[in-house]
Amino acid sequence: MEQRVHPISKALKYVLIVVLAAIFLLPVLFIAFTALKSSSDLLTRPFYMFPEKLQWHNFVQAWEQGRMSMYMKNTALIALVKVPLGILIEALAAFALTRLAFKGSEWLFALFLIGMMVPMQATLVPLNMILNKLGLVDTYPGIILIYLGFGIPFGILILRGFFRTIPKEIDEAALIDGCGVMGKFFKIIIPLSMPAIATLFIFDFMATWNEFLLAQIFITKDSMRTITTGLLAFRGQYSANYPLMNAGVLISVVPVLIVYVAFQKYFVSGLAGSVKG
């Protein structure tokens, strides 16, 4: 949506955005300050002060002491299997719910929605029993299965919504052109839904990367642990190494940001025309 707007109102908007962005950046700046301080600097001066002396080696120390390369590799492995697989499964279901209208589809959608509301903590015990029966405790397939389950309601809700905005005339035309149902799914719906799929990828990757509760319970082997549980090593019962923890967190979000940058290009207007054109 491009509108012709008054230059002054455009300038005002710009100022508004810059001010908001500055406010939003402030806490991030403090996180960075903390990451670059020594412990005693952090304790003796207000936390919002610029570091007395920049301790760049905190990042090296967090990386090595926190064994971050191992934890990040583990997390990446889980996320890179879970996220595409989850989106595929959710897209298939959302496709059926919107394009293959069938008896009971509305009830089925409602059933999926209920799952969004169940607190994860309430499911830990039965899930542990199920995984135990399947021999999947302490395995990546086990945790991926659980992540897939928890991602399904959210994914279906998002994809169903976006699939519904794609006019039916387009896929009816495709059907006449001789595309099968599978063809319609892969050749029409998926390409037209790239903004939605990109959105879901960004959220799902981030959620998987940052997930803590389930990872902590269902992966007990240290060599298999994920990054969020790994970073906890900087927090003890009665003390915490805040500089290393902050440095570790800043390192750990890099992959999430890379995914965000890689997928956000789908938000650039341009696809819109092809939808209704």
């Binding site: 304790l43 697989l85 299965l145 892969f186 902590q216 009665y238 915490a240």
Partner: protein, 429 residues
């Protein structure tokens, strides 16, 4: 490729093929390419799984030492932060997946596992292996329920008063020996522009360390024990006096500003540089002082002017669900990890050992004095002595008195009601 991946991929294949999805091969190979990550060799040795707390850094080294010396036993350590540890243990207990051995606290935290039959009875082993000559008896007792020893103790923590020498020297004070003297010092610090008590009220347990000492002071040892056993009414003048004293200290500004919501870690952070004068803390504080970049010799300890110190133990409980060979291996591991040998090797990071005959490090000069005070008389720390529901109510009462939502009398009544509710509920179930 392990069986688990095969099972997983199999499940997915069923799901995806059933969808008539011709492209399922792509996903399959994606899962397949990541196999071989959980490949552990399955030789004929016994694996002993141990769940420990995140801060037990010494355990990694000790486990490696043990594994090298014992080719037939393999220790596998998993570490947890405090709250995740409690969650993971409850979940595992529920679904029967407890590790061979796990670290937990004595009192009402460890009792859950012992009283529900999840822990091996170590009474006979304790006798055969002559534990009383190896471990501090108090630590063994705190993990003993209904006469059965349920755990191998590794920490015996004593909690008492720490003072900042910087502050005390500046104000020309020395460690107090009577309650009146202590109170005069609190006021002297306040007058000198220093916050006397470095306590943070978030989550309750830090301020509780003052509450329990005040309760010990006003109720005396006998009544204090009865209150903790829920055999005496909490609606007692001594309890009212305790809450009234908390309120008085609050009103006089003896705590850091906004302490009700202050995280204990942050409260203690005020103590290191001498912004505050006193902290009620445990034997582990030496290590934290050093880690924060301060000098342990700038601090001192003294006995809160009551009869007894507050103590608690940490122990390894052993699963009841082990065959004889595994049980023996597990106990061997447990006794090794808690032994004087390991303690002496890792003393700087070990914490306060429950083992006897150990050499203390000069990096932890306050450990021994605190333990000596506790040896003269101790009570179990309140959040492990009381049932958790009553503990939660105590924390609420501390806050409400400080916020003037409750009078000290109401706080005492609230405590008594929580105790009565707990007793009523546990009688019926």
């Amino acid at each position: 490729m392990t069986k688990r991946w095969q099972a997983f991929v199999g499940l997915l294949m069923i799901a995806l093929i059933a969808a008539g999805c011709s492209s399922s091969g792509g996903t399959n190979s994606e899962a397949g390419s990541t196999s071989g990550t959980s490949g552990t060799s399955s030789a004929k040795k016994i694996t002993v799984s141990v769940w420990a707390l995140q801060e037990h850094t010494w355990i990694d080294g000790a486990a490696a030492d043990f594994n090298a010396a014992n080719p037939d036993i393999q220790i596998e350590v998993s570490k947890y932060a405090v709250d995740p540890m409690k969650e993971a243990l409850k979940v595992a207990a529920n679904s029967g997946t407890l590790p061979n051995m796990w670290s937990t606290w004595g009192g009402s935290l460890g009792s859950f596992y012992a009283e529900n039959g999840l822990t091996a009875d170590l009474t006979q082993i304790a006798k055969d292996h002559n534990w009383p000559s190896l471990y501090n008896q108090a630590a063994i007792d705190m993990g003993t329920y209904n006469g059965k020893v349920s755990g191998i103790p590794y920490h015996l923590n004593a909690v008492d008063m720490w003072y900042s020498k910087t502050v005390y020297d500046k104000l020309k004070l020395t460690a107090p020996s009577t309650f009146e003297e202590l109170e005069a010092q609190l006021q002297a610090m306040k007058d000198g522009g220093i916050t006397p008590l470095s306590l943070g009220g978030k989550n309750g347990w830090h301020v509780m360390r003052l509450t329990e000492q005040l309760l010990e002071h006003f109720a005396g040892p006998e009544l204090h024990d009865k209150l903790n056993n829920l055999t005496a009414s909490w609606n007692d003048p001594a309890v009212v006096q305790t809450f009234a004293k908390l309120k008085e200290y609050n009103d006089k500004g003896y705590f850091p500003k906004g302490y009700v919501a202050l995280d204990p870690t942050e409260a203690v952070n005020l103590f290191y540089p001498g912004t505050t004068g006193l902290d009620i803390d445990g034997t582990w504080l030496d290590g934290n002082i050093a880690a924060a970049g301060f000098n342990v010799n700038d601090f001192g300890v003294f006995k809160f002017p009551t009869g007894r110190s507050s103590v608690f133990a940490e122990m390894f409980q052993v699963s009841a669900d082990l065959d004889q060979a595994t049980l023996e291996a597990t106990i061997k591991v447990g006794e090794y990890l808690t032994s004087a040998e390991v303690v002496n090797k890792y003393i700087d990071s070990y914490g306060t050992p429950a083992a006897l005959n150990v050499t203390y490090s000069e990096n932890t000069p306050h450990l021994k004095p605190l333990l000596d005070m506790a040896t003269k008389g101790s009570f179990l720390i309140t959040d492990q002595a009381l049932p958790q529901e009553v503990v939660q109510k105590l924390f609420e009462a501390q806050d409400k008195v400080a916020l003037k939502e409750w009078t000290p009398e109401q706080a005492a009544e609230g405590m008594e009601k929580a105790a009565a509710d707990y007793k009523a509920k546990n009688k019926t179930s």
